[in-house]
Symmetry: C2
Subunit: 457 residues, 2 copies
C-alpha cells in the first residue's frame, strides 16, 4: 500500500449535498477519492482534526508579482492608477532571474496552500530575460514555475501567455514589455515544448492571451486554430475603464462585447476581471458558459472597480476567484471582498447568497469551487468519488469553529476569522500543510529571502 | 528596579519624525517612555526582534458582538440590511450572562492585541439582563469589561452608553432594547459609580450617547451638563441612509448637520461612522476638531456605505479606526479596507496618501494613531517621551519585513501580510503578546469556549 491509499476519517465534512457527520473518505493509491461513506466509524482511518471542506482552485496568478506586494503603495506625483502601478511592475520584472522566479513562486504557492487553495492557474507571461533576451531554453521560466509547484506540492494549471503588442490595433510593444513577447509561431512552439514537461510534472497545460490589447484578432485566431493543449483558455478583459474606451475607439465595441462576438467563447474560456460590463454584456458572458475570473483583492488594490456579481449570478453566470497580484493569498479574503464590494455598492447585506435561508459563505464557496474547477481544467471536484482529495481541514480546536454548525462554520471562516482557521491542507490526499506549517517552509523561506535581498539591493 | 523600568533596544523604530536605526527606548517604572536615543548601542537593553511601530487605539468596540461574528451571514426572506442584522444581534444579547460578557471581551481583547491594538474604547450599552432586569450592581457588566481588559492587559477607555429610545422624537424602546436602557439620572449615577472603579482598574472613563435615535436633545443636554468624566464623548451618527431620512423627517436636518448645530462638538467628541454626509457636513465635521470613528470592516459587512475619506482629509479632518462588530480584529484589515473603499469608489489608487512620494500605509497609520489617541483620551502617543510604551514589534524574521525599508515595512504589513506579520505587542512596556502568543491564551480560550457552547445550545 502506498502512503496515499488509505482512509481519512472526518468528524464533519462538506459533501456536494451538504454537511455530513462521521465521513470516511477512501482514497485510491493516486490520492483520488474512491468512495465516501457517511455515518462511518473511525476504524483504520486517519482522523482529521476539524471540519473538512474542499480546497479551491486559484484561477489567476502572476506569481512573480508577490515579490512586490506592498511595495507599490507610494503615491506618485499625479493621479495613481492601475497604469502607474504597471510601470513599477515592469521595473521589478526587469531585474528577475529564473532563480528569483522559482523562489518567489515556491514561497507564494506555499502561502496559497496555507490559505486554502490546492491548485493554481499560473497566467505566465514572463518568458524572457531583461530587455527581452531569450533564454537558451525558451521554456526556462515555465519550467521554473513547474519546479516551484512541485516544491510546494500544489496542483498547477500552467497557462503560457501570448503577448505581442502594447495596445489595440497591433501597436508596437514598449521596452518594459520585451520579456513577455512572442510571435504566433514562437508561442505555438512553446506550447508544444511544454506539453510533455507539464505532463511529466503532473501539471496541466492550457494557454492565455494576455488581453485584447496584446494580440490582434488574426493572431488570436491563428493560435486557437493550431494550439493542441486541450486545456483552459484565459484572457484579461475589461479590467480598466481606459481599456473599455480604447476598445470602443478601435472597434466600436466594448471589450467583452467584442470578445464574445469575435471569439468562440465557451466553457473552456475564463474571462479574467470582466469588471466593466453593460447589463447586456453581463448576460451574454453568463450565457456563454465561460467562467468570470474574479480577483477581488487585486481589483480593490488596483482601483479597478466592482464586478457586477449580483446581476451576473442572476443570469446564471459562473465565477471563480484568483489572487492575481497577490496582495492577498487566501480564499477567505478574496471571497469576503467579493461580497463586501457588492454590499458597499448596494448598501445592503447578503448580496450573493443563493436564496432565502442560504449562507453567504456556502454560496460563495460552492460557486468558486465550481468556477475554479472549470477554469483550471478540473473535471471532478469537491468531496466526491473520482475527484482528487484536495481538502482543507479547519481548526477544530478553534472555539469559533468548534461551536459552529453546518454552514456557519464557513461563514465564520470566511467572514470572521480568515486564514488562521485553516489547520491542515491536503492535495491529492497528501498533507502539504499540517498545523499551519509546510514541510519545506525553512528551505522555501531561505531561497525567497535571498531573492528579496537581491531585488531590494 | 521593577520589571518595567528598563531599556528596549530597537534595530529600527518608527519615531514621530520618521524611521530611525538603533533606537534605545528608556522606560520609567510605570512603563512610560522616559527617553529615546537613536544611534544607540544595545548595551543593557532588551533587543526587540523586528521593526518597532506604535500600537494603535481601537476607538470603537461592542465586545459582545464578537460572539456572533460570522453568524449573521444567512440570507433572510427579504432584503438583508443593517436592520435585519440588528434583529439577530438583539436575539443574541438576550441570552448573555455577565460571565459570557467577560469571557467574550477577554477573548476579543487578546485578539485585538495580536492584531496591533494596545487600547480599546468600549462603547458599552449592554447594561442589564435579558428583558431589562437590572443586576444587583448597576455597574455589573461594566465591571466585567474592566476585568476582561485586565485579563488581556489591554488599555481600556470605558464608555458607558446612554440609550433610552428606539427612534427620533423619543419613541418608546422595543423589547430587544430593554437591556440597554437608562433614564438620565440612572445613567449619571452609573458614571459616578464607575469613576473610582475605572481609576482603580487603570482604565479611563468617558461616555457615549448611542445615537440621535436613542436620546432626545434634552436628555443629551442634561447628560452633558452634569457628567464629570472628563473623558471622550462618542456617538453613532449617519451610519445608515434610513437614519438620515428619519432625521430629516424629524428635524429637517441631516444627522451630522443636526449634531454639529445643536451639540458642543469639539475635540472631545468622536462621531462614529458618519458615513452619509454632504460635502458641507464633511467640511463642518472636519473643522469641528472631532474625530471620525471609522470602522471599515463592519461598515462593509453591514452594507453601510463608503465614508468620504478623501474629502474629509482634504478638509483636514481627523479620523481613527475601530473594529465595532469585530468581523475583523486587526489594524491591517481596517486600514486596508478604508483605503480600498476609496479606491473602488474612485477607480484610482493611493487615495489617502498625504502627498506625492508618501506611503499610503504610513499616512493611514499616522492618522489613525493620532485620531485613536484623541478618541480614547490619550494625551501622549507614539514613540516619544511621556507616552506609554505601547509597541508593535513586526516579525523581523519574516522575509517580506526583513527586506523592506522604511515605510515599505508598513505597506507590506498593511497591504500584503496582515496580522501574521505581528510578532510581539507591548502595552505600557509590558509584553502582552510574544511570538504571536498571549500568556492567558489557554485560560481565555477555555472560558470563551464554554460561553460559545452555552450560547449555541
Amino acid at each position: 500500500m502506498t502512503p496515499s491509499a488509505r482512509t481519512l476519517f472526518c468528524p464533519m465534512a462538506l459533501l456536494p449535498g451538504g454537511w455530513a457527520s462521521d465521513v470516511a473518505i477512501r482514497l485510491d493509491d493516486e490520492g483520488v477519492i474512491a468512495r465516501i461513506e457517511t455515518g462511518a466509524t473511525q476504524a483504520g482511518g486517519e482522523r482529521l482534526a476539524g471540519p473538512v471542506v474542499p480546497a479551491l482552485a486559484n484561477l489567476h496568478s502572476h506569481a512573480f508579482q508577490r515579490a512586490m506586494a506592498g511595495l507599490a503603495e507610494t503615491a506618485g506625483s499625479g493621479e495613481d492608477s492601475f497604469w502607474t502601478w504597471r510601470t513599477e511592475m515592469y521595473r521589478t520584472v526587469g531585474r528577475m532571474t529564473p532563480d528569483d522566479i522559482e523562489a518567489i513562486a515556491a514561497k507564494l504557492y506555499v502561502e496559497m496552500l496555507k490559505g486554502g487553495f490546492s491548485r493554481v492557474a499560473e497566467f505566465h507571461y514572463l518568458h524572457h530575460a531583461a530587455g527581452g533576451t531569450p533564454y537558451a531554453d525558451p521554456a526556462e521560466t515555465s519550467l521554473r514555475i513547474l519546479a516551484a509547484a512541485r516544491t510546494a506540492g500544489i496542483g498547477l494549471t500552467h497557462l503560457p501567455v501570448f503577448y505581442a503588442h502594447s495596445d489595440f490595433g497591433g501597436a508596437a510593444p514598449g521596452d518594459g514589455q520585451r520579456p513577455f513577447l512572442h510571435d504566433v509561431d514562437g508561442f505555438l512552439a512553446l506550447l508544444e515544448r511544454l506539453a510533455p514537461a507539464t505532463a511529466a510534472s503532473g501539471a496541466r497545460l492550457g494557454l492565455a492571451v494576455h488581453s485584447l490589447r496584446a494580440a490582434t484578432p488574426d493572431e488570436m485566431r491563428a493560435i486557437l486554430a493550431h494550439e493542441r493543449t486541450g486545456g483552459p483558455i484565459h484572457i484579461h478583459v475589461a479590467e480598466q475603464e481606459r481599456e473599455v474606451e480604447a476598445c470602443l475607439a478601435w472597434s466600436g465595441r466594448r471589450p467583452v462585447e467584442w470578445l464574445l462576438g469575435e471569439m468562440p467563447v465557451d466553457a473552456r474560456w475564463c474571462a479574467i476581471h470582466a469588471t466593466h460590463m453593460t447589463p447586456a454584456e453581463t448576460e451574454a458572458l453568463a450565457s456563454s458558459g465561460a467562467t468570470a475570473g474574479l480577483c477581488p483583492a487585486t481589483e480593490a488594490n488596483l482601483g479597478d472597480g466592482i464586478f457586477p456579481a449580483t446581476d451576473y449570478r442572476g443570469f446564471g453566470g459562473r465565477f471563480g476567484i484568483g489572487t492575481d497580484s497577490h496582495v492577498a493569498t487566501d480564499v477567505a479574503e478574496e471571497l469576503r471582498l467579493l461580497e463586501y464590494g457588492q454590499r458597499l455598492r448596494d448598501r445592503r447585506r447578503s448580496r450573493l447568497a443563493s436564496g432565502p435561508g442560504a449562507s453567504v459563505g456556502r454560496t460563495l464557496l460552492d460557486a468558486a469551487l465550481e468556477g475554479g474547477a472549470a477554469a483550471t481544467g478540473t473535471a471532478a471536484f469537491g468531496l466526491r468519488p473520482g475527484a482528487p482529495a484536495d481538502l482543507v481541514v479547519l481548526d477544530g480546536a478553534n472555539p469559533y469553529i468548534a461551536t459552529a454548525k453546518g454552514d456557519a462554520i464557513l461563514d465564520r471562516w470566511l467572514f470572521a476569522l480568515g486564514r488562521e482557521s485553516i489547520r491542515d491542507v491536503l492535495v491529492g490526499g497528501r498533507f502539504v500543510v499540517r498545523e499551519g506549517r509546510h514541510a519545506a517552509d525553512a528551505a522555501v523561506d531561505a531561497a525567497f529571502l535571498k531573492t528579496l535581498r537581491r531585488l531590494a539591493a
